[in-house]
Symmetry: D2
Subunit: 310 residues, 4 copies
């Protein structure tokens, strides 16, 4: 259940009436405002607030260029130009606020993006929810043999069953012991009047990192795109990738022109080194360049051939 | 003239119709949205956009405190508690975007606040405006004798007149020479077809720092209050103080509860050292403490007596 | 064991010879460079590198004040002045790099300080260590009755014993299952050739947040003092406080004058609101102010009386 | 004169003796420590301090990869891999502190890089130096006709002479009037005992942005490379480019392996969009792609052809 009853009632109440504003409005984003987008088994993202739309980017860019930009005929062209040439500051003029529920191990990767504002649920003040992540069977990936941080095939049969059993049993027991140590249930009911109960800030240390936490997270559009580019990448761990992909969908509703430019120039883009460009230039001139004559290391050569789809 | 004709037409057009939104709205701030607040002789601040209101702060704080906060009965009390105890992250959940016109020497102080987003008018791309700051006669302060960075009495008579004459003449000449070097007027009209004209990025170097620049500036509420606290302080230079004071007025329209708490706990507050507190405690117990018996240096003693209004 | 064998050999090798440098050197800090300071049951802090000493702060401040500071006779006085008046930028000119081993739940609080550089051990690439935190019996605090985030008395007898048993057993089992799911021991030995083994990035999700992680953490002196002020505070959780206190000791070795000023003006200091100062002024004039006549809320009055030691 | 007499005496004194340290040392950087590298007509950069060398990057990366990296055979290979794949955090573990003298208009561009620490000479406290930038005749570029922010040919003959005359005369007069308004010379000698003198913070507003300022500037290696990549680029203004190029030389002395990787993978690199890569792939397969059949706009096509050296 993505939201609890109180939260659902709040969303319904908020969405009953609109208010007039002189600010820019993104109609497609208003449609989903406050509504949770379910992710993994108990997680979600929902948009709480936003500032600006595509035209805020244009507006900020025009201040920089001043009178000099009268000739720029088209907003989309300007946005695409800015993104292509990494003129990043106009994109910082838009801001997005999300409410996110996510496993702790995902939160630990996420928080490494420092240029954002965060308010997280506190296990010092409050009792943690009895919600933990267990992968769907099709995501029970084996360790990759070739790549230290990668995933290989999906586990099957008894091995898969045993993993799921461990994850579920250990999580349940951990939470039961969490309650026992606090001498108090998830709902705050005291278990044994004769006991004091361990401090919450200590008892929580028994919970594994697949338990869910939640936070409000606010970020500007430039840094959001940087986050998505890194975390929607195939090398990112699946469990954070689903959040990044959901944010890409949000991006399309919020700033459609920027979202398209982002997909064209960032998501499918590749950075080529001076030597890599040299190889391409020589090949286009008809020269038969091999790794040996390229000046590239074997690893770099493979990376280049990969990019060139060879 | 704070805005040019094009900008005034834009503001009028935008303010003709509102749009519906599910987001939080700050009605008193909507009233002045886009409208310039004149400052100094040619400067202004105008609010371009905002995210959140007082209740966004409460909302973010409640996520942190989770179920634990059901008992907190009152939003204003919570906001005041957060501000008093420097729980800063909930205040980062609100964001303000301003369009500001200001002299370059003010912009140079301003930009030292790094936790903000900026898009500035570019003198590389565009021709700078023929607008420069000349202090009103009552702000023509003499150098303070006691304080290196302070101002003393106001200059009068011939000395004042001479200063104003210098500032005006030098500014006018500088701009005239700026145009001559570019071989082009403020409006972009070529002066002499037989000349090439110096690059704008070079010609601008002739303009003094009392010339006006402008930028879009976006900042979260926590950092905005930090800015105001430092720059509305009596030790701040008058020319940046007027901007900080205007922002305090904006704060009152935007987040009235926070603005009140900010004035109570930050603007009029003082930080007392361990030794300073010790002096107060001893005095309240009836002990006659002097600088000699206080353990404070002479300078610290004076600062303490100042705070105590003695 | 704070360091493993390889690390201890590295430290010994590095500490065998010094190299000459023209840079500023902090002799008392050099004495402990690279050596781990043990904390909690398996954690540590060790200083890896530093930039600047007390005199780097003075040097940076003098650039700001330029020729104007010829008269400032004494470095310590200047440092104390800067810290007292929150002139923070000169303190940013010093930098400290630490290697820290800490429980994950402490790391989760720690990382909220965004103005630092971090490289953390990766559970995606590498197998986590079999090391977990179990509080010493004297730190098994009960939940505070009066304060949601506080600790009360220490648990005793059977209740304490049961808590320790749970923490130890659950941690051991979690690690055993971690190995079983990966099909691989802590040392990397395959357990069952017939199995594939779950990806590391997934298996680690079974480990509770009392397991240890480690990171390199680099921060400037201004932000370090902010961290210490918040985390060495009695309201901070004990398990992060021990790290903050160790950093205060490091501070004393590194920048002794700044460390002293920090203790005088920050650690023992209190911020008093406009209303709080008013109460003090009235009392010092002999007026008998009570909560009712103070204009303060009951809570604020208690906080003020607390500061005044009444 | 890059340094004044006092500063030169300080440098000589510091460089007379070395001290022993257990920290990493960069010998080639020690050679130039504190010594100014002259830039433009009165500017300079000098290295004041540094933290870490190439091996600090490797050290930080190995903490992340943990036991998993035993096989990485070579440090240079690791550094090149990290830089190629934009694993940026290990590069944040090195820090550089510079003392820089630069024209105000260059400082205004420079300060836009927010992730750095700065202490600037204060025109509120101190009297500004009588030093201003006048371009060498070969850098008196005309406004580019094709590119709004670019430079075209070099001005010649009378037009060039007139520009130089304006810049020199206006700067001299501005400073003379600055002294007159303060009623005080550069050296602090009062001009007319019968006058009060305008406050420094006001008088300075008469100085044009080609006057020199100075600051201490501290930045980590990752952000330094970002600065150099943007500011040593041919599109950057010449007057900031010379500083970026000097920093590239410093980089080579400080972290030679990183500097080489930076030149290979960043300086000469190009980012190609999804569509751009598609054009290359089709051409390499022998297809004759034109702008019309490429899906690229005319501008993007030109940019791509430019990168491909066609």
């Amino acid at each position: 259940m993505p939201l609890n009853d109180i939260q659902r009632a709040e969303v319904a109440a908020i969405r009953e009436t609109t208010q007039p504003t002189y600010r820019e409005v993104a109609p497609a984003l208003e449609e989903i405002l406050y509504k949770p987008i379910p992710l993994l088994d108990h997680g979600f993202i929902r948009v709480i607030d936003y500032m600006g739309t595509d035209s805020a980017i244009v507006q900020a860019a025009r201040v920089s260029y001043g009178k000099g930009t009268k000739k720029v005929s088209e907003d989309a062209g300007l946005i695409r130009y800015l993104l292509r040439h990494r003129h990043t500051t106009p994109f910082e003029m838009c801001e997005l606020k999300l409410h996110i529920k996510l496993p702790i191990f995902v939160a630990r990767q996420w928080i490494r993006h420092r240029t954002a504002n965060v308010n997280e649920y506190s296990g010092r003040y409050s009792i943690m929810d009895r919600e933990f992540y267990v992968p769907a069977p099709e995501h029970l990936a084996a360790q990759s043999v070739s790549n230290r941080q990668g995933r290989g095939d999906v586990l099957e049969g008894e091995e898969a069953a045993r993993v799921l059993e461990i994850l579920k049993e250990d999580s349940k027991r951990a939470y039961q012991h969490y309650e026992e140590m606090m001498n108090c249930t998830e709902e705050g009911v005291v278990l044994d009047e004769g006991k004091q109960g361990l401090a919450r800030e200590l008892a929580r240390m028994n919970l594994p990192v697949n338990f869910y936490t939640q936070w409000y997270w606010k970020i500007d559009l430039h840094n959001l795109m940087h986050f998505i580019a890194l975390r929607a990448d195939p090398h990112a761990q699946y469990e954070i990738r689903v959040y990044a992909e959901a944010m890409l969908d949000i991006l399309k509703r919020w700033v459609p022109t920027t979202a398209q430019a982002f997909q064209d120039y960032r998501m499918g883009a590749a950075e080529l080194s001076a030597q890599g460009l040299d190889v391409i230039r020589r090949r286009l001139r008809g020269e038969a360049v091999t790794q040996e004559t390229s000046g590239l290391s074997k690893r770099e050569w493979e990376e280049l051939m990969n990019v060139l789809g060879a």
